[in-house]
């Protein structure tokens, strides 16, 4: 069976949103613009991860000659819309201003667009599923509820008087970050859902560790400002409490009172780098990703082409 590339998903979404979708033209225009962001299917750099393409990659493990290609493509498009909706909700709940388009919208506008995206995604799945619709919706709803619970825990998972432990971090990440990966894997290979579940958890943890480490080295991200209890910060605080009598915690407290935080944030970021916490998270991310790929190789030994393709994709 021919491989479905990113171009096919893009063409489908372009056609669907322009001609088949009943949403207001202005909403559709915003959706198009947002789908050009990092990690989205229309982004100019195609080496970036896209959830729709990931859906296709997992689907390729069980496709047969008679599989309805149109159904796979439309589901991949639906996944792109669904994940974009959850991104918008997350941006609003995290008070994150890093997305240029979302930060220019009012909360009302952003919520309306996210709602529209979610409904459009459900509509696409309903209209392009000949069988198993109840099972599919059940997977989607269950994992979206899981993601909500994870997001709720994450909102309150911050550095305060009590410093969260590494174990608590993994518990939150497992719920928050793995739910969407489980959703995509479960939907794309329903009959092997149990095989994919531990794999999805490891992929989700690997991705979150990488993001949390990258957040510290990035100029635009906001975890530090919001004192999110990410693993790099937890480990750097652990280092600081042993080596310099809690210098880092004192600096984090200053963040509360200082108006212009940019110099202080830079100082804190440089400190965290020097503790080895960033390296630690990147290496752990690699360990979890390797574990996921090993499990895939064990369960699907006859799918070497698909395994190598997925490996290249996840490690790109």
């Amino acid at each position: 069976m021919k491989y479905i590339g990113r171009g096919t998903i893009k063409a489908f979404l372009q056609n669907h949103l322009s001609t088949n979708c009943m949403l207001d033209k202005e909403i559709v225009q915003y959706i198009f613009n947002m789908l050009h962001g990092k990690g989205k299917v229309f982004h100019t750099d195609e080496t970036y991860f896209s959830w729709g393409e990931f859906y296709v990659q997992v689907s390729s493990f069980h496709l047969k000659e008679d599989t309805c290609i149109q159904s796979v493509i439309s589901h991949a498009g639906a996944i792109e819309l669904l994940i974009l909706a959850t991104d918008i909700f997350d941006e609003i709940s995290d008070y994150d201003q890093s997305d240029q388009i979302i930060s220019q919208l009012s909360i009302g506008e952003a919520v309306t667009i996210a709602n529209a995206l979610m409904m459009e995604a459900f509509q696409l799945i309903l209209h392009n599923s000949k069988t198993d619709i109840q099972e599919k919706l059940s997977i989607i709803i269950y994992e979206l509820q899981n993601a909500c619970n994870g997001q709720w825990r994450d909102l309150h998972f911050i550095i305060s008087e009590c410093i969260p432990t590494e174990e608590e971090y993994f518990s939150v990440v497992k719920q928050k970050s793995s739910a969407l990966v489980k959703l995509v894997c479960g939907l794309s290979d329903m009959y092997n859902k149990n095989i994919w579940e531990p794999i999805a958890i490891d992929i989700g943890i690997a991705g979150q560790l990488k993001n949390d480490a990258a957040d510290i080295v990035s100029e635009n991200k906001s975890d530090l400002i919001h004192k999110k209890a990410t693993l790099p910060l937890i480990k750097a605080i652990e280092y600081s409490s042993k080596k310099d009598n809690g210098w880092l915690i004192k600096k984090l407290h200053q963040l509360e009172t200082t108006d212009d935080n940019s110099a202080l944030i830079l100082e804190i970021k440089n400190y965290i780098r020097k503790t080895g916490a960033i390296d630690y998270c990147f290496i752990l991310s690699k360990i979890y990703m390797n574990k996921a790929l090993e499990q895939i190789a064990t369960h699907f030994p006859e799918k070497q082409i698909q395994i190598q393709r997925l490996k290249r994709y996840l490690e790109s």
């Binding site: 990092k38 991705g207 990258a214």
Partner: protein
């Protein structure tokens, strides 16, 4: 188990150069999976993976 990896990295931080002696000690301390990921990371450095969020 992750604590071993953290300890190895802390040991590396104290050294100016990471040589064969440090790597041999790391190999003894870590699981094969951890050691493999560590050496891969040391070979590629952080440039390849920084700033590429995918989730």
């Amino acid at each position: 188990m992750n604590q071993n990896l953290w300890n190895v990295l802390q040991n590396f931080l104290e050294k100016e150069v990471i040589g064969t002696a440090e790597l041999a000690l790391a190999k003894e301390t870590l699981s094969p999976q951890q050691f493999s990921a560590l050496t891969e990371y040391l070979q590629h450095g952080t440039k390849k993976i920084e700033g590429r969020p995918w989730v």
